[in-house]
Amino acid sequence: MIILAFIVQTLRIATPYLLAASGGLLSERAGIIALTLEGWMLTSAFCAALGAHYAQSPWVGLLCGVAGGIVAAALHAVASIRYRANQVVVGIAINLLAIGTTRFFLRLAFDSSSNSPRVPGFDWFTSSGAGAGGVLDTLASLLNPLVVAGLLALPVVGWLLANLPLGLRIRAVGEKPEAAESLGVDPARVRWVAVLAAGALTSLGGVYLALDQHQFTDNMTAGRGFIALAAVIFGNWRPARVAIACVLFAAAETLQIQLQGLQLVPSQFVEMIPYLLTIVALAGIVGRAVPPAALGKPTA
């Protein structure tokens, strides 16, 4: 029972990581730095809460969230693809912008500086979520379309990259856009497609956060987009490894939550794990992580 609860909680914590990391992977393999995952998620979380609140439907929330994520991604794409801006700077700017705008609209729409009212979520089978005890309840909490999407996201992205002509083009554009261009493939267009799709995938992570907690709270992503990016890097930009990294980070977090009473390790140290592992991966201490060669480089 304890193990089951551990696994279930790990998967639920991993869901936004898996969704955002699949978006991040797609974007980075096309050569666009996914530093904006955090901002995309936050934007979509807010839009999801907004939609779910006014329509009183999680599905409308989902649609709104995805739309918000795509808009945020389009902003990123315009700046870094169309205008060839420095992707790191754009990424930071969009993240800050997302914090500011969601805060502003939170006040405007819900007249609150901390959180939205309670919104409906995808918890069809749980009686009330928190505090419920039985095995069935625990398992039922996984019957959430977004959790399922999270489990499928990286396998699907991986399959797409490997098996679709578009996937081949994305990989080519992320490594050597001029080669793709010389063969009549428009690198800018491929990147646009990849970034918008990445925005949509990542936004599912944001939607999950809002609907799972039945509200939007100020800056509720709390660094999860960066953890997802860390998973992409720690996973060496390969779908299977990225998935493992997401689950690993989520498991560490779960462990920390479950052991909270024991105070074995200060929780801050557990929170550091993803970032430390990222540095380890980038420093090549255990097999160097090799980013796509054209990552962050604008196309001609």
């Binding site: 098996n163 002509p165 990989r171 080669a179 793709a180 063969l183 493939v185």
Partner: protein
């Protein structure tokens, strides 16, 4: 993005030899009055080209003459600002790469347009992928590589990653890519720059076969011997303009070089037995070796950074006044060897002496001050800061000699720049210009001025004339010869065998991290060295 070009202003090609060829063949490609500017730089001013069906057409010209730009316009990568391009009498000015590919025009670029992380088959089909349903049909892609390979003789394993291929193999993939897209007109931009002599022979074989089957080839090259060997017709460009077109059988290397530069040039292939650059008595080698070597390298081992050794025990000594040449296909440890001597790379074992002094563990600055000059192989990566002014580039690494009380001495820097710019004929002669504003040849002159415009007992010259024009090559070669004549020891590394043979007193061939042979110049020739360069001869030979 594409400026819509006006219909061609029929300006005739300038140059006395412009109409020497009366072509009987139907003209496949005609470009006239092509103009293309990048910012304020006019890459093509009045470029024209006429290519007959089924010929091998060489396009030659100095670096920066606009050859590649013209070819990129033909291949649809750039749209011309003005002028007209016709294929088979059809106006195709300003078309896209996609349209060019569909019309059978394919370009093999100087810097390979291959994605290193993809397989050969994936690179082949990129952009025109065979599909099974919505999926990429890998089996079909693989089969295409094999079928085409058998047909053309360009055999490469379809599942290998491009990053694992040798340069020659990578080039085969490039040609395959173009052919697979149905190219009838192949444009090759300096295809031989990275190939060993046997690989060049193979390439010529392939090109002859293709033209025999009805394809047409346009070949950009710097190397006049290649022009003479392979081409039917030569078009010469200078400063963005086409200055002449001539049938190869009516041409001579000297005549072509004159057209390229606009004046007489002495070619690298002419050994200056009578040349004015110093005493060239047969080097009394033994007696010189007796005197103390200026550069003495013993049992040098250098790690490659990829887990193995790039240099596996190399020893040699260069006496003052000798040019010691290292030939070999790139990637056999030459770069690492030079970088280790220059201080850019750590030595695993072995020693390096500069005269009597052990410099094995000295830093860059100390080596420089000890009298080691280094012309790095990649002037953009190591040789210059492109955004810096010429004057500042001329003191890079030596800036501590140009300070007064810890502050850069602008007066001294300007004085130095004035001397060097004049002494090394750097054009335009304005030391305040950024290095990026110079042509490749003049950028290289800046590096050479910095490294050779001072006292230096030992010079490491790594690919000193890579990507520079004939005029600059002549100049640089003369400088190297003069340096040797003045008693400097020169270590010359070049992928260009002609250059090594033109300059060196002794020639070593490096293969797989070792010297596989060391020969006096008199015994070295392309025929002798070729097998060593590809590892066919001298395998297992050791260096003392």
């Amino acid at each position: 993005m594409s400026t819509s070009p006006e219909s061609g202003r029929e300006r005739p090609a300038t140059g006395a030899t412009g109409s020497r060829v009366t072509s009987h063949e139907p003209r496949l490609l005609v470009a006239t009055g092509v103009r293309k500017a990048f910012g304020s730089v006019e890459a093509n001013r009045n470029a024209s080209l006429e290519v007959a069906r089924g010929e091998i057409h060489a396009l030659v010209g100095e670096n920066g003459a606009g050859k590649s730009t013209l070819m990129r316009i033909l291949a649809g990568l750039h749209a011309p600002d003005d002028g007209r391009v016709e294929l088979d009498g059809r106006d195709v000015t300003g078309w896209s790469t996609r349209q060019a590919i569909d019309a059978g025009v394919g370009m093999v670029h100087q810097h390979f347009m291959l994605v290193p992380t993809l397989t050969v088959a994936e690179n082949l089909v990129l952009g025109r992928e065979p599909r099974r349903g919505a999926r990429l049909d890998r089996a079909a892609a693989r089969a295409e590589v094999e079928t085409l390979g058998t047909r053309t003789g360009l055999v490469v394993a379809p599942d290998r990653l491009v990053s694992d291929l040798s340069v020659g193999e990578a080039q085969r993939v490039e040609v395959l890519k173009v052919l697979w897209r149905g190219a009838r007109l192949l444009i090759l931009d300096e295809p031989t720059a990275v190939l060993s002599p046997p690989e060049v022979k193979d390439l010529w074989g392939v090109l002859r076969r293709l033209t025999a089957e009805g394809s047409t080839v346009v070949l950009i090259t710097h190397k006049l011997d290649e022009v003479m060997e392979i081409s039917d017709t030569v078009t010469v460009m200078r400063a963005g303009e086409t200055v002449g077109r001539i049938a190869t059988r009516d041409a001579s290397p000297a005549a072509i070089a004159r057209m390229m530069v606009g004046r007489e040039v002495r070619l690298a292939t002419d050994r200056p037995e009578a040349g004015g650059s110093g005493p060239q008595d047969e080097p009394s080698h033994d007696s010189r070796a007796m005197s103390r070597a200026a550069l003495d390298v013993k049992a040098l081992v250098v790690a490659s950074g990829r887990g193995d050794d790039a240099v596996r025990g190399v020893s040699f000594a260069i006496p003052p006044g000798e040019v010691f040449g290292i030939a070999g296909v790139e990637g056999n440890g030459q770069s690492e060897l030079v970088e280790a001597i220059a201080g850019l790379r750590r030595v695993s074992s072995g020693t390096i002496h500069l005269g009597a002094r052990d410099i094995t563990s000295l830093g860059m600055r100390e080596r420089g001050d000890a009298g080691l000059s280094h012309i790095p192989e990649d002037r953009h990566r190591r040789g210059l800061v492109l955004d810096y002014a010429i004057a500042d580039n001329l003191i890079l690494g030596r800036q501590h000699h140009f300070t007064r009380r810890g502050v850069l001495d602008r007066g001294a820097i300007a004085a130095n720049a004035a001397t060097q710019v004049a002494g090394f004929d750097i054009r335009p002669p304005d030391p305040r210009l950024p290095a990026a504003a110079l042509s490749g040849g003049n950028q290289q002159k800046v590096v050479i001025a910095r490294e050779m415009g001072r006292e230096f007992p030992v010079l490491l010259a790594c690919q000193p004339t890579r990507g520079v024009d004939v005029g600059a090559i002549e100049f640089i070669h003369a400088r190297i010869r003069a340096a040797a004549a003045a008693g400097r020891a020169v270590l010359l590394v070049s992928a260009d065998l002609v250059e090594v043979l033109a300059l060196a007193d002794r020639v070593a061939v490096m293969y797989d991290g070792r010297f596989v042979t060391v020969l006096p110049r008199a015994q070295a020739s392309a025929a002798v060295l070729g097998p060593y360069m590809t590892g066919l001869a001298g395998r297992g030979a050791t260096t003392p």
